[in-house]
Symmetry: D2
Subunit: 342 residues, 4 copies
């Protein structure tokens, strides 16, 4: 059989693990795999590279995706969808494995329902905000990157008796912020799911200083909102390049804390760093397993499905059920984190 795969949306560590697992498993069953370049753009334009087990053997430790990625969505123009279908037939494909987030998988789901294209989905979001899977690969590597950064920031914060505000990814969901906040013993964790009460945060920072802790760490999601003022909406300008400009919330939180507490406060925005790097062991294993199981679905001709992690096991779920709903942070995690935020 001939299988194509593509990677769409923001990149994250573990994508190459999925590709490698898929290619090897298809090859083991006697099939071949090609890689469409730059997400759905490659499917539209028929732009691809052949992939084989030897070629992909060494990509496991590499961050990012050897196929390139883009946010191209063919469903923005019905002609583009037709081109994807054409490419599928022209390349004589038996299956198409789409590795991506809600947007990328939504296309795979519609191609399956609208055109009966034999698609399979593999969930990818560094934000861990896809329902139907316990964890997405890339999330664990990201947490370790944030943790390493904050472990570094802690010593300089302490030396200068400062508060440091760390702005991390998460426009709509606080998974990264909450988990890294727990892992970094943050003094405050501000997530999009809860309106932040900065007055309470300032009181806590002052109280802890009085108790002898001469520095503070505040973790804030890029999409967090401050009580009484939605800072995102207020600053949701379009930047010079046409992107909605978020960010900057870390700097604003730092200014407010410094003004309200009198404690010298700095901010750091980790930015693209959080998407980069060689995947952690967890993400290499998870990515590899998802790639293997996506291949096995293709071999079994079990289409319109997405592979997912449930506990220790890889399962499959209907694509149509898996897409369309963002998973915000479960309240139990903020409840647990809350033990340290009193």
């Amino acid at each position: 059989m001939k299988v194509a795969c593509l990677t769409g949306g923001g990149d994250c560590p573990g994508l190459n693990a999925v590709i490698r697992g898929l290619v090897r498993t298809i090859a083991n069953s006697g099939g071949e795999t090609i890689g469409l370049l730059e997400g759905w753009r490659g499917a539209i334009e028929g732009n691809f590279i052949p992939l084989d087990p030897m070629k992909t053997d060494e990509i496991l430790p590499q961050g990012g995706t050897i196929l390139g990625s883009s946010r191209t969505n063919p469903y923005k123009d019905e002609n583009l969808v037709k081109q994807v279908v054409d490419t599928f037939h022209k390349l004589e494909l038996d299956a198409l494995v789409a590795i991506g987030g809600d947007d990328t998988l939504g296309v795979a789901s519609k191609l399956y329902s609208d055109y009966k294209l034999p698609t399979i989905g593999c969930p990818k979001t560094i934000d861990n905000d896809l329902s139907a899977t316990d964890f997405t690969f890339g999330f664990d590597t990201c947490l370790n990157t944030v943790m390493d950064a904050v472990d570094k920031l802690r010593t300089t914060a302490e030396s200068h008796r400062r508060v440091i505000v760390v702005e991390v990814m998460g426009r709509h969901a606080g998974w990264i912020t909450c988990f890294s906040g727990i892992a970094c013993s943050a003094d405050a964790i501000l997530v999009p799911e809860e309106e932040a009460d900065l007055d309470a945060v300032c009181e806590r920072l002052k109280r802890r200083r009085a108790d002898g802790k001469m520095y503070g760490i505040v973790m804030v999601s890029e999409g967090a909102e401050l009580k009484g003022q939605n800072l995102i909406t207020k600053d949701a300008e379009i930047d010079d390049f046409g992107h909605v400009k978020l960010g900057g919330i870390g700097a604003r939180v730092a200014k407010i804390i410094q003004k309200n507490t009198g404690i010298e406060t700095r901010d750091v925005t980790l930015g693209h760093l959080q998407r980069g790097g060689s995947p952690s062991a967890y993400d290499r294993v998870l990515g590899t397993r998802l790639g293997i199981h996506a291949a096995r679905l293709a071999i079994k001709k079990d289409f319109g499905k997405m592979v997912a992690l449930r506990g220790l096991h890889i399962v499959s779920v209907p694509l149509a059920e898996a897409v369309g709903t963002m998973r915000t942070l479960y309240p139990e995690f903020m409840d647990e984190a809350g033990e340290f935020l009193k």
Copy 2:
């Protein structure tokens, strides 16, 4: 309320996270926590230190355990058990949280059933071989340590066109070997659960070299057995210090591979390195959560239980059910790893 905790058995990253989570949660409810020193030995001798949230705030990133550990088991002598019970009453404890592996938790379980001592267990084994919990903390950090080591070994193996055999922990279960083998794209994975066929391994290494891969990585559990000869039993000498001497299987596997393939082969035993280091984000979060939930069980007076991870959630299970059975590697993982071992 007054709660004591102790850490028993081999140390691993994340123990301090559990202690910190426990101490803070107990303090938040108005209680106090003390730490018994060096596992059950501290419970026997009444040797302890007070623990408070400020004192334990900074221990999260530290590997090991601030309480020290030992393999002392009071049930080897009924008098020692009595001393533990005495210590419990003398210190006027309301609960005792034992953090440890099967041996340590077995004592906690018996103290609960035999003496109605209000014990709570928290699972700890770097080998991930405890049933009743999806993952144990320390395991993830260990995998990353092994992976980083093999990522380093790969370049020197390739430069010298060598095979490198890496001996990792796992006397009875192959979790570390199999997971790190997947994460390191090993050419062979030898675990205690399966009799290794070294002839097949040698054939594979020669075939891959013929295909152009000029180096090889073989992961082997310290407790793996070779087909036709149980190398552990054969060499199960008692060393000078009274410990059963395992180890050395990596060196023996390397010799056999070099002799059978003619390829220069070296071996590395990672040893104690695998227990050390600052916990990964995963283990910091898991340890913290387990500590919080152990405290919550104590506060609710829900004794004779062990906290455990199931999917994304922390649950509790009866101690009596949790101990006594080692969890060997699930076959599905070797099946998945097998896609790369053909």
Copy 3:
């Protein structure tokens, strides 16, 4: 003898190594050491902690300084200088070791020449811009932090076919930018010592893309200037907290590159991350050696000197000669880096 030490100015990895080396060597000779808190502020206020070999034994791997730091300069007010002299006599000190940059060491030099205070200097600047020493500790750790960050950014840059502009420390000297630029195989290196020609940079980025390199890395010092427009001066506003506001040059360079090349460009400012973390082996050894030799100067009563690295050896130079001139990047390094910037 009784020796005091203090750490002044911005913190960096290796300060604790110096303190530990000093304390141990003084103790070996039968003396004692105290640590003045928060730089010259502690000397003014007589605020200190005792230091002994056991207490400082474990601080070697810690970033920052256990003594705290500040930018307090007593020479801004003659009364404060008097207080420093008073403190010196009141504490019955035999020597004062100041660990800091040009500002901190300048105070030590003047106290020696104006008041015959037996001071000794130890050079510290993460920017490596002190003459009289080959390298300063902290610089090497900083380079590794920047390099690790860029190694992470490279994979995400490549996946999205982007240019990433990385703004690093260096207001007046390009040591960090040039060395990390070489270590990260940057496509452009913009330092304060040279007026940057962004047109040439854009041409190079386009040419390399045409040759098949689908991403780009641009390293820029926070104090770099762009040809035809001094961006620092232009934006040298005073921020809300009274500090001169630099920064932002990375974002501006990114905008210009994106506009001129049409290539999607992002920027990351590493900020305080660069000062943090456990010191590298190089910095632990260098810091330890400087601390030992500062102690030996004190024991020999060889005052008014600064310890320094020359080749493999630690030497001493007169403080008066060592301070007052900033060392900008030697042209040979930009010449060497230039081989990759054609």
Copy 4:
């Protein structure tokens, strides 16, 4: 001009940096570079690959050498020397850059003096035991690898109140052991240059334990000798594969310490790990600079020279002077380390 390069002897991080610096600089001057495979073996057999700036652009972060290495020495057989000279002429080479240790460079030196072959040397030894250069690349990465390992071992040593003996590389020179011993705050440092007094080490470990330090770290070179018994000579067996078998000294030291002190003692041999991994910033910069300057010597037709680091500068020295004498550890370093070994 047409330049060949080769890498000989044990691999180390930074070799690819040299190759990349050389290839780019030669290309910038209009020349071309080829890479002879597997050290002098490639020169004998005429086995090579072409190298160009695009091909080598991404190799900077990779450990090892893309050219492979071997210990083949053509001077063991005069016919082989002739073949090297033949290869040189057949490939119409204008220069030959040999990157290696004393053995590899000795060949380059003799080819220059005996056959007037235009050779240039670049020093490489992870042991830092080449005179004529301050530091060799790979050494710094190795120190960081050892330091990271010992930082991990320290927490497990402390949890179990153990001494851990760490055996590191260094058959004849103690550079790695002494520098990493300083960086790891070891309690004992045993190097080949000094006969170790294990009785004194045991006394120190017991005294420190009595003072409250509940663990110990002992660093030992693989080539260290114990007082009164030369353990290397005693065990210098030939192993099954024809290599002189050193090693094992760590295990023996551990046994002696445990027996003499009664403290539980374990040993770890870091082995091949120490040669591996992505080069540190220091080694990337040093390797790149050496490669650039080797190319510049070739362009200037300044042959029979070796590039070397002196202070901050890259210089050149006659090959004939640079080879033949091993540089053992300077006494000043053990003197400095000694402050912590009292």
